[in-house]
Symmetry: C2
Subunit: 202 residues, 2 copies
Amino acid sequence: MTGSKLIHVQRGNEIYAAGEEAAALYKVCSGAVILFMILEDGRRQIIDLAGPGDLLHFDLDGELDHFAEALTETELAVFDGASALGDPDFLPFFLEQTRARLAMDRRHITMLGRKTAQERLADFLECVSECLGSAPGEIDLPMTRQQIADYLGLTLETVSRIFARWVREGRLVQVAPGQYELPGYGLNRVGAAIKVSALLAA
Amino acid sequence: MTGSKLIHVQRGNEIYAAGEEAAALYKVCSGAVILFMILEDGRRQIIDLAGPGDLLHFDLDGELDHFAEALTETELAVFDGASALGDPDFLPFFLEQTRARLAMDRRHITMLGRKTAQERLADFLECVSECLGSAPGEIDLPMTRQQIADYLGLTLETVSRIFARWVREGRLVQVAPGQYELPGYGLNRVGAAIKVSALLAA
DNA sequence: CGATTTTTTGATTTCAATCAATGTTGGTGG
DNA sequence: CCACCAACATTGATTGAAATCAAAAAATCG
């Protein structure tokens, strides 16, 4: 990336805050980032997860309307958006990123508006396994119950209960803290997608 | 718009469907459009409202993932996105539109994930009064209860009950079918924004 | 190892969904 | 013009999924 500099952010640290002037664009090189909004009374909603290759926001000026925080130790390329858009190589990447982010957000809206707690968590695990890319059938979850709940529009207790139920019913195996596995996945490793539907089956 | 043609769509008619190849971009000239997704079992979520000046989608190729339908009689400019992006006047407009749409979607996510039914409806009325621009303090609502519910992630009964309660409590006045007014608005017409907070006050 | 954070689990409540009529409105044709 | 019909909206009774309240248990960290 021309004219970019690299920064490191530790787990849990803020990258930018709502209200800050949008001065730079950020691209994730390694690690994972959560983007979120906070209501006046403290209610929090995580908007998006960003992994390697993703841009965090697309604002070239004005105030940012959301917060960004490192979920794990994260390396970011920081650069000036206005000048980068002059680069003919950068523009298609920028457009594709915004398009992809809009598609993610549309899915997120549909999930929050119309899906049950269990469906949301299943969708989320599928999304995480793609997005933060672990081996197929395995899920690497560097998030607390509260963070998952804030992404899904639920409470941490509800998230905890659903995990507990799936593990109790043998639909999900916890191999380590923050690491889960879908049992019997070896049998149907047809594609890359995790068969999260198995989590919901009656 | 260079190389564009105008089309008319009647209220309730489909503009495009999910699964269609993204061949053209659409800009609303007059009227209003809803964008929505439908789950396999028929649950529907309205993603966005588009009014005059708005682009409906931003996909230059690939399959569209959502539906677009005219809410009122609508006039649309249809044009080729790929060639329009070559136009140096068009690019900034396109970028600003995607940015604005992302901001709307983030607010929508936060609303669906973290707000109560009443807060959602109040937010929605505020959004509609800006977006489909009626006079300040007045709200023009060309949508059925079901459509409002599908935007807010609620049922039509819940939406109906909240309207009924606000009208009963004198927080909202129905001047005509689909037309509401905030009473006492003349006193605080400080800015352009409707004081929806009055709807929620204890 | 102690202290703090995070997670689990249980009991109870609550908001909105669901189920079920009834009432309105607007368009159409007699 | 009015009667009829089909959408659309309201209202009530009841249920239900997830939130809230409240401890205990487990994991993480210095």
